[in-house]
């Protein structure tokens, strides 16, 4: 896809789905090259996209839905009404997307199973300890153990993506 000039791109939910897959493989490629910090950064983006796409798919948004300012502003407003406590941090916060997904499912009377909800919470806490969007400005030393924990968290999200939105 060619980038249009400036920030007038109309990125859709389907674009986010494709980017979710791409960032996973990008992260894996960096890990194969021994670039741990870059790997964790991209896997974190992948995790963010997992949660974001699961949330909007649960809402039954069509694939062509633009992820634009109006949609995100309305999502932030829903979060207020649904009692979500995590701030969205530019809509990159893993805790925000996890909490609003859980809250939205409860409000729609289609809650996650207690087991999946508990595991999602643990997974997101684990990932949020090692990743935030601010890593784009940092190149921290990243031990192998941290990469392994992030990989485990991302693996859980991937395997349960369908369960999160179905």
């Amino acid at each position: 896809m060619a980038l249009s000039s400036g920030w007038n791109m109309r990125l859709s939910l389907q674009d986010a789905e494709l980017a979710r897959e791409a960032r996973l493989w990008d992260g894996a490629a960096l890990w194969c090259e021994g670039r741990a910090a870059g790997c964790v950064y991209l896997l974190g983006i992948h995790a963010e996209l997992c949660l974001k796409t699961a949330y909007f798919r649960f809402r039954d948004e069509p694939p062509a839905t633009p992820l634009d300012r109006a949609l995100l502003a309305t999502t932030a407003a829903r979060a207020v009404l649904l009692g979500v406590r995590a701030s969205h941090q530019g809509f990159h916060s893993l805790r925000f997307w996890s909490e609003i997904l859980v809250a939205e499912r409860r409000a729609a009377r289609r809650p996650l199973s207690p087991r999946v909800e508990a595991s999602l919470g643990e997974c997101v806490e684990l990932l949020a300890r090692h990743w935030s969007i601010d890593l784009r400005y940092a190149a921290p030393h990243t031990p192998v153990a941290v990469v392994e924990r992030v990989v485990a968290g991302v693996d859980w999200l991937d395997r349960h993506h369908r369960a999160l939105h179905a």
Partner: protein, 104 residues
């Protein structure tokens, strides 16, 4: 010193009045002035709708709180399922609508 925690929900001094006025329009009760005008744009591919509210009163309300007020009115007047069916909630003043080319 006491800690004062301000939430977005109560940021505007007339937040509840604005919600109530929108509720009155959503319920269609009594004589209603032409504004606020609530325009619902139904999505053909899903059960969702985009809601636009044209209202001079938005002038003193920050962008983020406008959507909260609209969704809160839907929930209060029509119930939670109806609120959840609102995919996008946009509040604009007549001047903003003109500037953005919105035909409401």
């Amino acid at each position: 010193m006491p800690v004062v925690r301000k939430s977005l929900r109560s940021a505007h001094p007339h937040h509840d009045d604005l919600v109530e006025e929108l509720c009155r329009h959503l319920r269609g009760v009594g004589d209603l002035p032409p504004l606020p005008r609530i325009v619902e744009d139904q999505d053909a591919l899903s059960s969702h709708k985009r809601v636009y509210v044209l209202w001079p009163a938005w002038d003193s309300v920050v962008d983020g709180e406008r959507a909260v007020i609209i969704l809160e009115a839907y929930e209060r007047a029509l119930g939670t399922p109806e609120m959840l069916s609102v995919s996008v909630a946009v509040g604009v003043t007549p001047r903003e609508a003109d500037a953005q080319g919105l035909d409401l």
